[in-house]
Amino acid sequence: MDLMTALQILDSTVRLGTPLLLACLAGLYSERAGIFDIGLEGKMLMAAFFSGAVAFVTGSVWLGLIAGIAGAMSLAVVHGLASITFRGNQLISGVAINFLASGLTVLIGQKWFALGGRTPALSGEGRFQPIVLPFADSLRDVPVIGPVYYELISGHTALVYVAFAAVPISWWLLFRTRFGLRLRAVGENPAAVDTAGISVTRLRYAAVAIAGLLTGIAGAYLATGLSAGFVKEMTAGRGFIALAALIFAKWRPVPALGATMLFGLLEAVANRYQNIDLGGVVIPVQAMQALPYVLTVIILAGFVGKAIPPRAGGEPYVKER
């Protein structure tokens, strides 16, 4: 494998890893606050649809992004109502949200565009365009560094850079600010937060809303960055891979970057090669596709380091007498 091939694979790793990263961070905020979120998939799908649809109708990808965020946010509100206000089962709520998105996107898409659930193809201002970083062209011919800079680091859409920036920002927010302290506390022991006179409800809604925002960006990226428009079920299980990555990363932002990029790499490799021949042993493409899930199960099983979720995760907060 030459440098160029490697760079191309890594480049597509970044592009495929970006939605995973955004969704993974979304899940991180939510679950750190004690709200399990298996509805990442649905929220992303909803965002992908609305961003694709609005970007097409208005011709503005930015309006599309806003619409996508609004779409994901509306489902986040449903999740908040069910799991915070009405103290319902967070897992069941997540399942419902995934179906809701899966049905509504096609229903509305068919109503608006009559293309069997797709949105019309986007072009020009309707899509996020690659950003060429300064000096990318001039440095292109410098050996190794040049191609790495040009191919891998430069030339992505704005949302990719947003996703990568979100990692250190999230770390700082969670571990260096008052908001982060309270957010982590509410996922570990909401009673401690409550008796300290802070609203558990408000904090958890804030976390769920951030999850809505980030899944919104993730979905918008899928429809307007990675692809040119919305296709039925286009998230294709990415929400669950993001969930897997979250467990893999043990609910920490920086490892989340590593986990999502690893899973992005697996997808990139599976896309490029049907079967990988490792000196006689052929790894089928299906094995590559299943690998993120298998790895997550192994991690969950505690054979390779134990993944301990936030202690109050999944439990609605009820004041004790």
């Binding site: 009405f86 103290r87 319902g88 068919q110 299943a290 969950l300």
Partner: protein, 363 residues
């Protein structure tokens, strides 16, 4: 401390109100996409229940949902949320296919018991790993069963593309099952009794197996020691350990039964209908089991009723898609709303109902 609401309100009133809410909102969705909900409902009722043809499809779908609904319900009794019905049914299909293709079956009466075993065993196997991980390693079963859905899909994909695909075929599917493995349809059975019943519908003898499973699950859960232990474990793991109930064993049994039930669905769709194994044969029925179990309050009678309702919705939805501009995905939305209102938003309905009864109690 006394019961907060009477039993009938808990079992009937709350679910009915939740369901009504789900349907009202579904009606609003239909309105919003410019169709008439009342007309849509009439079309659905006509298409799904207005003829033996419609019933043939409704019962076929319902059969799938009874199996997956019971699967989720049994796990619920042990406080385990099995989201893996989809994967377990997928693997059940593989079990059915292997059994049906293994021998040139002379008669369905021989093929059926063998296929039942194959379906149940493969379904149970696919539930066994997450169950063991939950029981022994404390791995959250919701996440592992989700992961196993995806792993199952990849396994099936691999097996269909690389192993079971007949030579020369481009289609990732098995060969057609031998004629001797063909199950009698409701049409065949009704004809034998001299009753006219629509042709060309997929409902088949598996429906009666599903009904038998309802009875079986009811008997297991409320009339056997295993069921007693499953329920005790589901209500309180600490107390179960005090009573000498082995948590590992109960988790395993509950999930094996759950997985086997999900796997049995394949008798209906793979052996009864398609007569070969194709990719994605489960078509989301594993997930509908969640809605069915929630709506049916994990009781076999409730599951049966909920499965019939969803069977009706599926067939009715197909009719809608045929005659109106409403896509089939409407059913997915309704399903989501049912899960939301009967499951996640249960308290939204329950709290006002409780208040109502408290008010009456005080008066």
């Amino acid at each position: 401390m006394s019961e907060r609401i009477p039993k009938w309100a808990d079992v009937v009133l709350v679910p009915v109100i939740s369901l009504a809410l789900a349907f009202v909102i579904s009606g609003l969705v239909i309105l919003a996409i410019g169709e008439n909900p009342w007309e849509a409902l009439k079309l659905m009722v006509n298409g799904a229940l207005g003829s033996s043809y419609g019933w043939g499809f409704t019962l076929y779908y319902a059969t799938n949902f009874i199996f997956t609904g019971l699967a989720v319900a049994v796990a619920f009794h042990a406080s385990l949320f099995n989201i893996g019905g989809e994967g377990q049914a997928t693997l059940g299909g593989l079990g059915v296919a292997l059994v049906c293709l293994a021998l040139p079956w002379p008669h369905w009466g021989l093929a059926l018991p063998a296929a039942v075993l194959g379906a149940a065993a493969f379904g149970a196997l696919w539930a066994a790993v997450p169950a063991w991980l939950q029981a022994r390693r404390g791995s959250h079963i919701v996440i592992t069963t989700i992961m196993f859905n995806f792993i199952g899909a990849s396994v099936l994909n691999y097996v269909l593309v690389n192993v079971l695909r007949p030579v020369g075929s481009m289609d990732p599917a098995t060969a057609r099952f031998p004629p001797g493995a063909s199950l009698p349809t409701l049409h065949d059975m009704a004809a034998a009794l001299g009753i006219a019943w629509g042709r060309n519908t997929p409902a088949n003898i598996t429906f009666f197996i599903a009904l038998a499973c309802c009875v079986l699950v009811w008997a297991i859960i409320w009339h056997t020691r295993l069921g007693y232990q499953i329920r005790a474990f589901g209500k309180s793991e600490g107390a179960a350990r005090y009573a000498g109930i082995n948590p590992v064993r109960i988790t395993m049994y509950a999930m094996l039964i759950s997985g086997a039930l999900a796997g049995l669905m394949a008798i209906n769709n793979v052996m009864g209908e398609a007569e070969r194994l194709v990719l994605n044969s489960v078509e989301g029925a594993g997930f509908i089991g969640i809605a069915v179990a929630l709506m049916g309050r994990s009781h076999p009678v409730g599951v049966l009723l909920a499965a019939l309702l969803f069977g009706f919705l599926y067939q009715g939805g197909a009719e809608l898609a045929l005659w109106t501009t409403i896509p089939r995905e409407l059913i997915t939305v309704i399903q989501a709303l049912v899960i939301l209102f009967t499951g996640a938003l249960d308290n939204m309905v329950r709290m006002p109902v409780e208040r109502l009864f408290r008010g009456r109690g005080a008066a």
